[in-house]
């Protein structure tokens, strides 16, 4: 099985317009992935599945990843003319900018027929709030049906073209998406007397005099 | 009018009757007839009531032991008080009757079921002189009482006014009706050979031993053995026991027509099931296993009712043994087994029995020919139909991956 770059070139050869970039994976596992654009994702997937040389017929794993907005402080060196006419001073200027986050869906593809290893596709939504739609790959691989429903349920990514997009783990009336990084736990839970940390703080807030406050050592 | 105990027989044989006559002697003339009837009824209820209690315990013990665990042994010594504990539990459980159930029928169903399954004991010859009722058409009476139990199952299913129990009651009825036929057809050869419908005469017809060792029981003849097997399979289905316990199966939506019953009514249904099981196996013993006949001449000293009880217990243990082992049949397979396998076999068995009775006179080498032809008439249809029944079903061989 050729390397990721060769695969990308092969895909680009087949689909000239598609925007495919390689996302390097610094860890020793060296499982690099291909970032696809939402528009051409399904055709690429069909190609990967049906191309005689590739035949990726099993989509083993579909994972949702939440990349929240990142505040990047980049320091740039600026030479300021010294108002007092002295030599120009080099001073670092910190400029804060917010890089918009995204919801990402990672597909691990394997080929049972040709027994070769994972090709990892990544699809990213435009942002985390309003446009969170991605093309569903269930028509290509049936195994994505439940896993995409789980990503929809826990992350909030809407999959266009999914046959039965409903919540799968949480109950239908649930509003929030628990796996997002900025998920706030609902405060309605039964207090467990774990003796310390924010659990104890939350407990004190719930039950003014918790029955099991850890007593001071008896003298 | 009451049959006075014959004095010719051994002491143990007539002991129960002499006890009864002594007791009746104490009463004035007018009450004698009633009390002798009452004594027989009380005797049957006591014996089979206790047998029901200890059958439930035996079943759980055997099921336990088969599964390498002791079974109930906490109540009393070795769990002997367990049935009474279950009885108390059933009595103290709240008896919930659904609001829009048909009160009268809902109450009547278990009562009718238990009554009908008890009626069957009236004609079973427990011992040489221990026959509750001497009827000319005894076997027909037994199956008439048996056939009416379907009515009670329907009443239970309908009265609960619950869609699932009605659906399941319909299934139970389909099972009972489709196994009524093989049950009746399998005892007709016995009546043909014994020439009578009365159970006592059928048992006496199976008396005597060739060479003191081989008894003349019908089960030891080819058509008798086939009839016995069909009778037992049909009896299993009639009493909703293991391979056919579809109505209470957990794969069923809910617990069949017993869904809306709780407390003692639920226990009554199981009492009826066990009475039905005892009655059917009692009839099987009478028809095929020579009732109270001893297996060989020199064993005559053991009283006849002991032989009947022994054979009955062996059959009941067989019921439990099958329950511990076999999986359940699906509904369509169950009815297909009845209509396409058991009924044809029972009809062919009629032919074999006819051949057997016609060639009764053959002796010497002809005897072997007679046995050979009879065996052929039994085995070949079994094998041919067996293969057609299990056409698409066979153990498979498996290949292994090349790499």
């Amino acid at each position: 099985m050729d390397t990721v770059e060769q695969l990308r070139d092969r895909l680009l050869a087949r689909f000239p317009g598609a925007g495919i970039t390689v996302v390097a994976n610094p860890s020793p596992a060296a499982q690099h992935s291909l970032l696809l654009t939402a528009a051409t994702a399904r055709d690429l997937a069909l190609f990967l599945r049906d191309e005689p040389g590739l035949q990726f017929d099993q989509c083993s794993n579909v994972t949702g990843v939440d990349w929240p907005d990142k505040e990047i402080v980049d320091t740039t060196k600026v030479t300021l003319p010294d108002p007092a006419g002295g030599p120009p001073k080099v001073v670092e200027q910190k400029s804060k900018r917010v890089e918009p986050g995204c919801l990402e869906v990672v597909y691990h593809l394997y080929s049972i027929a040709l027994r070769h290893g994972p090709v990892i596709l990544r699809l990213r939504t435009a942002n985390r709030t309003d446009s969170v739609t991605l093309p569903s790959l269930t028509p290509v691989w049936r195994s994505c049906e439940f896993q995409e429903r789980e990503v929809f349920d826990l992350f909030g990514v809407v999959f266009a073209g999914h046959p039965d997009l409903r919540r799968i783990l949480m109950w239908d009336g649930y509003q929030d998406h628990p796996m997002r990084r900025d998920y706030v736990e609902p405060d309605s839970y039964e207090w467990e007397p774990t003796p310390h940390g924010e659990v104890l703080a939350k407990a004190r807030q719930h039950y003014p005099a918790p029955a099991a406050a850890p007593e001071a050592p008896k003298p | 009018m009451i049959a006075v105990a014959p004095t010719s027989d051994r002491f143990l044989e007539v002991a129960p009757l002499q006890l009864r006559d002594w007791f009746i002697g104490l009463l004035p003339q007018s009450l004698r007839w009633i009390t002798s009837g009452l004594i027989t009824v009380v005797a049957i209820l006591a014996v089979f009531g206790l047998l029901f209690a200890y059958l439930t315990l035996a079943e759980r013990k055997i099921l336990g032991r088969v599964q390498n665990r002791p079974g109930p042994n906490r109540t009393g010594w070795f769990g002997l008080l367990q049935p009474f504990a279950d009885g108390v539990k059933a009595l103290t459980k709240e008896d919930v009757v659904p609001r829009d159930a048909d009160q009268v029928l809902h109450y009547l169903a278990p009562v009718v079921l238990v009554a009908l399954s008890l009626l069957g004991f009236a004609v079973l010859p427990f011992g040489r002189h221990l026959v509750p009722v001497e009827l000319d058409a005894a076997v027909l009476y037994f199956f008439a009482a048996g056939a009416a139990t379907e009515l009670a199952v329907f009443m239970a299913g309908w009265a609960s006014r619950n869609k699932y129990s009605l659906l399941a009651a319909m299934r139970a009825l389909a099972q009972l009706i489709s196994y009524e036929l093989p049950l009746l057809l399998s005892f007709v050869p016995v009546v043909m050979l014994a020439g009578t419908l009365s159970t006592t005469e059928i048992v006496t017809a199976q008396g005597g031993w060739t060479g003191g060792w081989i008894p003349h029981w019908y089960v030891l003849t080819p058509w008798g053995f086939a009839g016995f097997v069909i009778f037992m399979i049909a009896a299993l289905a009639e009493s909703n026991r293991s391979p056919f316990d579809l109505p209470e199966a957990e794969s069923e939506l809910i617990a069949g027509h017993l869904t809306e019953y709780s407390g003692f009514k639920y226990a009554l249904f199981f009492m009826a099931e066990y009475f039905g099981m005892c009655a059917l196996s009692g009839m099987a013993v009478t028809l095929f296993l020579g009732g109270w006949q001893a297996p060989c001449a020199w064993l005559e000293f053991i009283p006849s009712y002991a032989w009947f009880a022994g054979k009955l217990l062996v059959l009941l243990l067989g019921f439990m043994w099958i329950r511990a082992t076999l999986p359940r049949l699906r509904m369509d397979q169950l009815t297909r087994l009845a209509w396409k396998f058991l009924v044809p076999l029972a009809l062919i068995n009629l032919g074999t029995a006819a051949f057997w009775s016609l060639t009764a006179g053959w002796t010497g080498p002809l005897q072997l020919v007679r046995w050979a032809v009879a065996l052929a008439l039994v085995v070949t249809p079994f094998v041919v139909m067996g293969r057609r029944l299990t056409a698409g079903v066979a153990p498979r061989t498996y290949r292994y991956a090349a790499s």
């Binding site: 994976n25 610094p26 860890s27 020793p28 596992a29 499982q31 099993q58 083993s60 794993n61 994972t63 990843v65 990672v106 691990h108 049972i112 027994r115 990892i120 691989w141 049936r142 195994s143 994505c144 049906e145 439940f146 896993q147 046959p163 039965d164 409903r166 799968i168 783990l169 949480m170 109950w171 239908d172 796996m179 | 099921l63 088969v66 599964q67 390498n68 869609k163 199966a249 957990e250 794969s251 069923e252 939506l253 511990a324 082992t325 076999l326 999986p327 359940r328 699906r330 509904m331 369509d332 299990t390 079903v393 066979a394 153990p395 498979r396 498996y398 290949r399 292994y400 991956a401 790499s403």
Partner: protein, 390 residues
């Protein structure tokens, strides 16, 4: 009989239902089997739409045992997630631990000593024996054998659990593997115990097969029931014995050749019909293969350290990056996908649950069959709700 007053759960959007009966005669009955139905192997629910006896639509409903295992994984260190993996598929804690350890070792590039690899293979094959015999027991229970085969399977399972307890300290929650090896070195008499078990297991399997495999009622109930084509199985991501029952030769022990599996010779049984009987038989034959592996592994167990001396127990911070490690668990391909950002907690901790994905085709197998068949088909798919709901 109008549709029961059970208000049907909201199921907007057409589902993948191929009309089994073109002409609808009579009323459809919507029944909810579960979540505490006696034969659904845990809190699992199926909304079944019945036309008389045959199933027209079957919607599985999960989530009753959902603890958000993956969010827990993100809030604790790598080591602290190891005891939680025991609670995923609570029948096979050793293979869950191993899958997680493989993923982390791939992420951080850790080496694993020879002896640890052999011990891992021995424990994984013991878990496979335990899981497959339990499954066969539960399947017979659904067919109605009133518990006898299940008790025999549990009798053997107890022996294996005693081995796990004397090694790792707990029967089911072993928490035994670490990144770079195992926690405790098995003693000589433990290995002798494992050898005794392996020698005795063949006799149990023969007795089990004598009781069940030739049984006409069982064959009638399971052959031709719940057929699955190999194309649909591959596309639906079905893995493990259910996939091999349809004739696809896909066993990660052969395909990936992870650990020291290439050193052992064992065969991968394949079925032809992909029905419930094949799934049952494949598991029985796989148990026999596991016995072969076990005896070879026990014979060839090398000396040496059980834990890579350089492996750090605390303060384990793998460099940024991601890795997807998978092994052939008893239920199928169990995998862990980890994204690390250099801190002590994983950034994303994802479990690839085989039973959850194998359920995708439950509806396709049950359409047109009766309720009694649906129970058996669910039993043959072999799900454990701890892994399905995570």
């Amino acid at each position: 009989m109008s549709v029961s007053d059970l208000t049907p759960l909201s199921a907007p959007g057409g589902s993948t239902v191929r009309a089994v009966h073109d002409e609808f005669h009579g009323d459809l009955l919507e029944v909810s089997m579960g979540p505490h139905h006696p034969s659904t192997h845990g809190v699992f629910r199926m909304i079944v739409t019945l036309d008389g006896e045959t199933i027209v639509k079957l919607k599985p409903v999960f989530g009753y045992l959902h603890r958000n295992h993956e969010k827990l994984g993100e809030n604790t260190t790598y080591l602290a997630s190891m005891p939680y993996t025991d609670r995923l598929d609570y029948l096979n804690s050793m293979t869950n631990n191993w899958a997680y350890a493989v993923a982390v070792e791939k992420l951080a590039g850790l080496a694993v000593p020879e002896r640890a690899e052999y011990v891992r293979v021995i424990l994984a094959e013991l878990t496979r024996l335990l899981n497959h015999s339990c499954l066969a027991g539960f399947l017979m229970q659904d067919c109605g054998c009133s518990g006898t085969p299940l008790m025999y399977a549990f009798r053997e399972r107890e022996k294996i659990l005693d081995l796990f307890e004397s090694l790792s300290g707990s029967r089911m929650m072993c928490n035994y593997q670490r990144f770079g090896g195992c926690r405790v070195d098995p003693s000589a008499d433990w290995l002798a115990g494992a050898q005794r078990l392996t020698d005795g297991y063949g006799a149990f399997l023969d007795e089990f097969e004598a009781l069940l495999t030739g049984n006409e009622i069982l064959m009638a109930r399971t052959q031709g029931v719940g057929r699955l084509s190999s194309a649909l199985a591959i596309s639906a991501g079905v893995t493990g014995p259910a996939l091999r029952a349809t004739g696809v030769a896909h066993d990660l022990r052969k395909v990936d050749g992870y650990g020291v599996y290439p050193r052992f010779d064992f065969r991968v049984p394949l079925g032809d019909h992909g029905d419930t009987y094949d799934r049952y038989m494949i598991r029985i034959l796989e148990m026999r293969e596991s016995l072969k592996i076990l005896s070879q592994a026990l014979a060839g167990l090398p000396g040496g350290p059980i834990m890579d001396p350089k492996a750090k127990l605390r303060g384990f911070r793998p460099k940024a990056g991601e890795a997807y490690g998978r092994i052939e668990g008893p239920k199928g391909e169990i995998g862990f996908y980890l994204i690390s950002d250099g801190s002590a907690n994983p950034y994303r901790y994802r479990v690839r649950p085989p039973s959850f994905i194998n359920l995708t085709i439950l509806e396709d197998m049950c359409l047109g069959r009766t309720v009694a068949d649906a129970v058996i088909i669910l039993g043959s798919v072999d799900i454990v709700l701890g892994e399905v709901d995570r």
